[in-house]
């Protein structure tokens, strides 16, 4: 079990510390698929961050497809089984491609509007 460490004096923004460490914990299996994560409010008070900061990290992790928020039930690590089943369906394959595209766009510093324009430009050039 690896602890999540937030250093308030670090030059790395707290939400980025949180995002990268949670993602690493999921990749290494420290956080297992289907495992429930603390609520935004609880995690924020435990590590001394603002709730908005934790919410932002959770939003980005959800956008990256590693966690999912299920309404009032809470936030969970995405199940690998679900991912495999999801990837086999046509919609799931498109969703996975969208996640990969979004990650690439984010890494290159693009905004949502710029990424959307790229999809709109590519759409007429492709055939079904």
């Amino acid at each position: 079990m690896t602890l999540l460490v937030i250093d308030h004096d670090s030059v790395v923004p707290p939400f980025e510390q949180l995002r990268t460490q949670v993602a690493a914990m999921i990749v290494t299996g420290e956080l297992e698929p289907g495992q429930k994560l603390p609520t935004v409010r609880q995690l924020a008070s435990d590590v001394g961050l603002a709730a908005n900061t934790v919410a932002r990290a959770y939003r980005e992790l959800e956008a990256d497809g590693v966690i999912s928020t299920q309404g009032r039930r809470g936030t969970f690590v995405r199940s690998r089984l679900f991912e495999q089943q999801d990837a086999m369906s046509p919609e799931g394959a498109a969703r996975q491609a969208a996640i990969n595209f979004t990650q690439t766009a984010r890494r290159n510093g693009m905004s949502l509007a710029e990424a959307t324009r790229l999809v709109e430009a590519a759409w007429p050039r492709t055939t079904s």
């Binding site: 937030i6 994560l37 603390p38 609880q42 995690l43």
Partner: protein, 289 residues
């Protein structure tokens, strides 16, 4: 004048209980026992650093428990003396209930104020949710909720019967007994549920692993203190119904059954990791490392 005398008697005897709990060497010597029991039940191996933190917290818990004992006994004795003496029959059941409630609330409140809280720029967490079902067994929560419902339902039905608002075949004595025992049980069980919720919404702040393990054990013990308060209050509520004259037979039977169920739930606590989930997982990791 009479009220002043009652107040003096209650305060003096309350201070006596505080002094006994605080300065009798036996209580001081055994203050680590609940922490050791929790470590065993939760299957946690505590190293020297964790034990040092727990011993400091045990000293604080001991003081808070003694204060709770005195305040609880004073309040309970005051209430029992102000009540019609023929009803409580000078048995001091309310004072005894105040004693148990006071000590449990005092000890559990100490969990809200950890010794040496983190003060550096670093915070650690195990990404472990701490809701009711993460630390308490569903059966224990069900027992607490059921006892609260039984208590307040008794108060309502006893009040309705005593004031003749509804036409039910319940004597005044039974109605009064329903109100007394129900109020004791309802108050204690509701206080337990509210207190546990309060403890669980409190941040689990730590700047290193040892502090996180100790904080988890302290939280778990605070929750068990409150659970124990409800368990100890249930036989007291039942015994209140035994001593009252002219009450229906089903009343002590119902409350005694509730007492047996709750004591059974308390005795049913077995060694299980989710008593202190964070401490257990961290301890298991250090053993396999």
């Amino acid at each position: 004048m009479k009220f002043t005398a009652l107040l003096v008697v209650a305060l003096v005897s309350g201070f006596g209980f505080f002094a006994a709990a605080r300065w009798i060497p036996y209580f001081d010597r055994t203050r680590m026992a609940p922490f050791d029991a929790m470590l065993t039940l939760a299957d946690v191996k505590a190293d020297e650093n964790v034990r040092a933190r727990l011993e400091a917290q045990a000293a604080r818990r001991h003081v808070w428990g003694a204060i709770g004992t005195g305040v609880g006994y004073s309040a309970g004795l005051m209430a029992s003396m102000l009540w019609d003496p023929t009803v409580v029959d000078d048995d001091g059941l309310l004072a005894l209930a105040g004693f148990f409630v006071g000590v449990a609330i005092g000890q559990s409140l100490s969990a809200l104020f950890p010794v040496n809280p983190p003060n550096g720029p670093v915070r650690v967490t195990a990404m472990q949710p701490h809701g009711m079902t993460d630390y308490l067994h569903r059966r224990e929560i069900a027992v607490e909720v059921s006892l609260a419902v039984l208590g307040w339902a008794s108060v309502v039905s006893g009040t309705l019967a005593s004031t003749n608002r509804v036409d039910v075949p319940v004597s005044d004595a039974t109605g009064l007994a329903l109100v007394l025992a129900g109020a004791l049980l309802g108050f204690v069980a509701t206080t337990t549920l509210v207190g546990q919720r309060w403890l669980l919404t409190t941040p689990l702040r730590a700047q290193d692993e040892d502090q996180l393990v100790a904080a988890d054990i302290v939280l778990a013990l605070g929750l068990r203190d409150l659970f124990g308060m409800t368990i100890s209050a249930t036989p007291l509520a039942a015994s209140t119904t035994w001593f009252l004259p002219d009450r229906a037979w089903w009343l002590p039977a119902t409350f005694t059954a509730a007492a047996l169920v709750s004591v059974g739930a308390a005795l049913g606590v077995r060694k299980r990791p989710n008593l202190a989930p964070v401490a257990h997982r961290l301890s298991a990791r250090s053993r396999t490392a």
